[in-house]
Every structure is written in C-alpha cells, then in structure tokens.
Amino acid sequence: MAKLDSKIPSGPLADKWQQHKTQIKLVNPANKRKYEIIVVGAGLAGSSAAATLAELGYRVKSFVFQDSPRRAHSIAAQGGINGTKNYQNDGDSVHRLFYDTLKGGDYRAREANVHRLAEVSANIIDQCAAQGVPFAREYSGHLANRSFGGAQVSRTFYARGQTGQQLLLGAYSALSRMVGQGAVELHPNSEMLDLVIVDGHAKGVIVRDLKTGAITRHSADAVILATGGYGNVFNLSTYARQSNTTAIWRAYKRGACMANPCYTQIHPTCIPVSGDYQSKLTLMSESLRNDGRIWVPKNKADIKKEPSAIAEADRDYYLERIYPSFGNLAPRDVASRAAMRMCDEGRGVGETGLGVYLDFADAIKRLGEPAVRERYGNLFDIYHEITAENAYQAPMRIFPAVHYTMGGLWVDYNLMSNVPGLFVLGEANFSDHGANRLGASALMQGLADGYFVIPYTIGDYLAQQKPSAQSNIDRPEFKQAAESVSAQTQQLLNNPGKEPVSHFHKRLGKIMWEHCGMARTKQGLESALQKIPALREEFVANVKVPGSAETLNQSLEKAGRVADFIDLGELMCRDALTREESCGGHFREEYQYPDGECKRDDEKFGHVAAWEYQGPGQKPLRNIEPLNYEFTKMSVRSYK
C-alpha cells in the first residue's frame, strides 16, 4: 500500500508557503550544476519549470513529443489567466481567489495547495509582463481585466483570445534562452515511453525518437512530468489530437498513484459535433459568456424554428433564470449540466437537438458590433470557419465537450508523487482544482507550478540525494525498461489485426462519453467496466499497425497511446463507480438534490482517491488521502 503523506506544512493557512520556503533544504549554487533534471513536456508547466531550473544552475534535459516546445497544447488556451492583482479595486484578494477556487472545485482540493496557488498568482502576471507578453491594455497603458465563470470579481488577464499562446510563447522564449546558453538540452520529437526507477527513486526515462524510431535511455537525479491531461480518452475533446496519457500512465504502472481520475471537466461552450469523421471539438472561450446570453426555446415545438423567429417571451435564458447571481457566468460544470438538462427535456437546438444558443444580439445592441468584434472577433471567425455561419447575425450553437481533467498523478505539497524523485506539474497532477476547475485557472496553475513552486521544492529533495545520475543508464533497470518498450513496439507492429487504431479510439470514446461523461450511474459504469475489457481484448487481437519501427510512424504512436487510454478509461470508470456522491465534474445521477445540483457526501468521500497499480489484470488498490479542512467549512456549493 502506497504511503500518501501530503506533507502539508503546519501553521496558519496564509503563512504555510512562506514558512515552508524558509524551512526546506537548499542546494548551494556551486552544487546545482552537479544535478541533472529531466523535464518531460513543454507546455506552460514544463517550459516554465525547465527554464527556471536551468536559470538556477541545474542541468536540464527537456523532452517533448511535438517538433517544437512552442506547439505544446497550452498554446490553445483562449480566454485568460487569473491573478489576484486587484487592479480593478473590486474587492479581490488572495483569500478570495483561494475561496473561489476551492468552492469552484466543490471542496475536493487541498486547502494549502489552493492557497499557495492564489498567493503566487500575482507573481505570474508580473513575470509574464516582464517577458514581454502583450497582455490587453487600457488606453492608460495599464493592464486590462475581464471576468470569468465562478467569480464575482474581474481578475482575468488576457491577450485577445490567445492568452495561452502568448503565455506559452513567453515560457518558450525563457526556455529558448536557456537552450541557447547550453543550460537546457532540448529533445523535440521525443516521446517518453517509460519511467525508470532505481532503488525506489525515479532516475530516468526511456524515450522514442519519433523521427528515427530510436529508443534511448536517459538518466537524471529527478524526473518531472508536465505532460498535460488525458481528456482524449473520450476521443472527441477540445484537446490537441496528439495529447495523451502515456507518460503519466506508464509512471502509474511503475508505482505512482493516480488520483481522482474520474474528475473530468466538460466545457459548456464548444461547437457541436457535425459527423462521424469528426476528429476534434472546438472550444468557444468562456470569455464569450461575459457578453453572450445562453438560451433555448421555452417550447419544444420551437426547436426547429429560426432563432430570430422565436419571440423574446418564448425564450428561456435558463442560466439567468436558475442562477440569478452568477447568470451566464455560472461555473463550467454547472453550466454544462444545465445545457444537458435542456437537451434532455427536448429543447435542444440544431440538427441533432444537442445544442443551445449563445446569443450576442443584446451585446451588439448595447456595445455596437465593432466593440464585440474587438473583444471576440477571432472567436467569431473560428465559428464561421467551422460552421459557415455568421454569429454576428444569428446566435452561435454550442454544446458541452470534454476540455480538461482535474485528476492526475497524486502529488504531495512539494509536487512530488509517491515515487521519490518523480515530480508532476500542471494538468498532469491532481492537486489544485478539486472536482472542477474554474476558467482561467489552468494557465495559472501550470505557471505557478513551473515558475514558483518546483524551483523551491525540488531543491529539498535533491539536497538529500547524492548526484549520481551519470553512470546510471547501464544499470539493469534501464536495460529492462528499454527492452520492454521495444517489445511493445514490435508486438504492435507484428499484430496480425485488421482494424486501424482510430476505430478502437472512437469506440472507447463512445463508451466513456455515454457512461463516464457528464452524468454517470452505477448501472452505466458497471456496464462500461464490462465493455472496456472486451474492447481491450479486441484491440490486442485485431489492431493493425502498418509500417516499421525505424521511421516516423504515426500509426504506431497512436496505437501505444490508445492502448494506454483503454487502460485509463477502465480506471476512470472504476473511480467514478466507487465515488458514490456527486461533486463538481463528477455527477452521479443517484446523488443529486431535487433541483439537479450535486449532492456531496463529505463524510464518506471527503477524500482523495489515489489508485495504485497492482500488475496486469489485477484490480488496482484504492488508497485514501483524507481532506482535512482546517480553515474553510465544506458547504453546499451554490451559485444561485
């Protein structure tokens, strides 16, 4: 059984991080260069960590499966990043961001982690501004803000609808600077396929060069995974097509615990599915809900009518009706489920009936079309490209889609997993968002972890280790891991199957969306737990992977990733089945209030579930980390 010590420092909530920083061990500047650190992934968390650790003097190796770190999927985040600057003088504070995030997560995150996140949020804005990130400005030259869901203050900083791009390019520029100086060894086109553990500590990775197929061993004194989320387990999602779970899943199979895998975020404002061939769902930023109003027809009879033909009195602005104090800016999980309820009632719009309107007519009347174009023009353009419809003239149609995963590898307060020396940052870990993440908080967490947390906390671990990585890759542990990676590759390529990988991915996605998506039931999850192992058997028997191991082989890459998704999907269903309550993004139909809101069970489930791998075909072990709320009361979350 894994030992889960959260290592939350004692003392008052607001002092924990400051005190912790002064008490943890340091590595002196001359010794830092003796330590080597592997960073896998180069999104916001990975790039910022690699750059900052190199600035500190550590030797860093950065691995990324994309052809450049600048292409990591953080690039696609649209709306913004939260920071408690209180530049608007509207009552924001560290405590308020802490509270909003904790409540937004439906009281399933750690208090101390969330408070630290809120504390460093302001530093992130400073850091990014200093790097030259072209944030939106007022005419005065000051930074501009917008509002996001789940908050009653305006604390979101943004760069048009491309905030993630600009923040990532900022972190990428910091990383590039250190690569240029020779302080970071950059390995693009390199996919991590195994974690190597020596004497119980993470000491390296096995990597496949995606261009040449070469499988190489890399050793280090510590390994950082910043490899993002696993939403592509649903096949269709807002994730990049290649985002995957492989790095964290292989770490799980080496003993790292997977925490709360069932916590998935379904984003309410995405462009609805159009056909079977579909590979991707496109997000329409949450920022649109600042000015757009969401509605469906009051009467089922109207759903096929042109929206302009539906009189104002016959429209149901259901978010404003049900949640008057937050209105269209209700948190994502709440807004998504409300949309689903409308569609379940038969009031959904569009060809499939799986859509609701997001209407800008009032905003255009109030602000004028040019102002709306300036705020959201690029999003309206994206909508037009995909649907060939003009959202200035008719409302957008939107529907929820998988967008983010709050679950991930379990980490302690230092962001170290239960495997010593293995650190996990950003979306890949589970730590800060509880059961639901608020908008504009993913960018914040990725950069908090990379710029301001890991540079301190990794020193505490390294100070207790002798630098010894150099000679390690000849050890049997490395050899064995590399051989098992090669064996899996050969097995996939030699499989006498008939079906392309994508067929299995689509089928897995359907099972997951149906049974482990927006609403879950005991019966549905039990049936998924029958279907997924059957799908795995079929995959093993019948998947066809053409080509060879020695070149760029995208089918082979995909096959390995989908194999891991199948295993992860099963664990997610198991986690969702065991968690007999509803909280945040995890909605069990059996556990709800009469008005359809989540009914938590704090007594039985006020904890983190951290699953531990027990070997192939074995049931994983469910470890528990109790969530002890010292400073906040777990209360019923209300946005009414």
Binding site: S48, E55, Q66, D67, S68, P69, R70, R71, H73, A76, K85, D126, Q127, A129, A130, Q131, G132, P134, F135, R137, E138, Y139, S140, G141, L143, R160, Q162, Q165, L169, S173, S176, R177, V179, G180, L186, K211, A240, R241, S274, Y277, S279, K280, T282, E306, P307, G350, D381, I382, E385, I386, A388, F452, P500, S502, K544, P546, G547, T551, L552, Q554
Partner: protein
C-alpha cells in the same frame, strides 16, 4: 439557420499526395480517390479517413503533421494546390474545410518546400531552424522572480495591440514555403517587432535583431525581395510591414554596433 439547412450533399475528390519514405529517398505524387466527402469535414479529417482506408488495405498511411486542429499550434504544414495552408485567407491547413472544394476536384497536396525545411517523410518537414533562431535571441531576458509589478511598466494600448499583431505568429513556416527565396523574414520580423515594440524589450533590442538575423542566414533561409507572398499565406495575416521594421532595426543595430563604445569589462562577472 441550421434547423432549416438541407441534408448535406456528399461528393468525391482525388487527392494527389507527395509520398516520400525518408529524407534520402526520392518522392513522387500518388493519387488517392476519396468518396463520400462531407462539406463539413475538415481537410485533415479527410486525410484521417483516407489513411484508415490505406491501413485496412495494407498500405502505409500518409504521414502528415497536425496537432491542435484549431489553427494555433502551427504544426500542420502542407501546401494544398500549390498554396501553403491551402485555399482561404488567414487559416492554417487544419482549418480548411471540404466545402472549399468541388466534386471531382484533383487536390494536390505536398510538403512545405524550402532548403531549411528538409522533408522527414511524406508531408512532414523539419522546422527546427525556427527554434534555433529563437534560441539566438527571440526573448527578453527576465529571470524568474526578478519581475517588477506588472503595472509599473505602462504600455500604450496602440503599442500593445501592434505588438500582439506580430506576436500572433504561430511559427508554422508557411511564409518560408510561399517565398521564392525561402525567406524567413516575416517570421523573424514578427518576433523582432513584438519584442522590440514593448518597453521591456528595449535593452536587448539591438543584440536580438543582430543575433536572430545572423542565425536566420546561417540556417539557409533567403532574404526578402518584397513580393509579399509571405503575408498573403500567413494563417494569422501578419503584415509584411513588420519586415520593414525588421530592416530598420537591423540597419540601426548594425550601425550602432560599430560605433558604440564597449566597456573593457564587458562580459566579466561581478
């Protein structure tokens, strides 16, 4: 609108695709018929479908670069009917939808072509030269933790907006592929302009432009001869005006670098 849309008519096209097994081997065009194409399908989704068909019939699928499929990561990189990122203005290949084509069309698909972008396989090219240019100087040196309060550096809205126009570059390389000189000057100009416009970028402005241009030249990219094919195909419609800004910055920096006195202790540590 959609409620009254008639059922979408499916059609057939032929894809004429560049196939090349490896950098060293010669490539050639191969035709692949595609049927039941929906106008709402993206071009890359059509490639997905064709590839599944190839897999089932025991042929090797077409390798093509893609990732976000929403026009922001800059991974997708092919030319469609001779134009980088295909028909349409201000979009990347992943945002091309089949409604841009007609039944019976022969669609020619090939990789971005430039000496500095060697072909890896089929439609996939190596663009690490762009990363090298960034590493040479495409940054503002701002050590983590040393930043002043964000609002202590005021940036006028006009400057921030213009910097953002330049910063929108996705590093796809279409500008290079479209240019008869395979010039990377729009790419370099975008970064030099973004950082050079911001007050934070001033201390390193001269060093930056000199280092980036030098690295660009070394990587085998050509120079600009003012045809503006680059901005015409740019998926983010970045204007070639930034190239003028780059030239101005470069000439000024070159001039100053010859004149400026250099401290005898430059480079020495404290």
């Amino acid at each position: 609108m959609v409620a009254s849309t008639p059922a979408k008519k499916l059609f057939s096209v032929t894809l004429r695709v560049w196939r090349q097994a490896s950098p060293a081997q010669p490539g050639k065009f191969v035709d692949y018929p595609a049927h039941n194409v929906s106008p709402d399908m993206s071009f890359l989704e059509l490639l997905d479908v064709v590839n599944d068909g190839l897999t089932v019939s025991n042929e090797e699928p077409i390798a093509f670069a893609h990732d976000c499929r929403e026009g922001i990561c800059g991974t997708c990189s092919c030319s469609i009917n001779g134009k980088p990122h295909g028909p349409g203005k201000g979009v990347a290949t992943c945002q091309v939808y089949m409604r841009s084509f007609q039944a019976g069309d022969v669609i020619v698909v090939e990789p971005f072509r430039a000496t500095a972008f060697p072909i890896i396989k089929d439609l996939v090219v190596e663009r690490s030269a762009f990363d090298k240019i960034q590493q040479a100087g495409g940054f503002i040196s701002a050590r983590t933790g040393a930043a002043p309060d964000a609002n202590s550096i005021l940036v006028s809205k006009a400057v921030a907006d213009l910097a953002m126009d330049a910063a929108a570059c996705i590093g796809c390389g279409a500008c290079v592929a479209a240019c008869k000189n395979a010039s990377a000057m729009l790419f370099v100009a975008a970064k030099v302009s973004h950082l050079g416009l911001m007050p934070q970028g001033q201390p390193e402005r001269d060093r930056r432009v000199l280092a980036m241009v030098q690295t660009m030249d070394e990587a085998g990219f050509g120079n600009c001869t003012n045809q503006y094919e680059c901005s015409a195909v740019c998926p983010k419609t970045i204007t070639h005006d930034f190239i003028a800004r780059l030239n101005r910055d470069y000439v000024g920096a070159l001039f100053r670098s010859k004149l400026q006195p250099v401290s005898a202790s430059a480079g020495g540590g404290a």
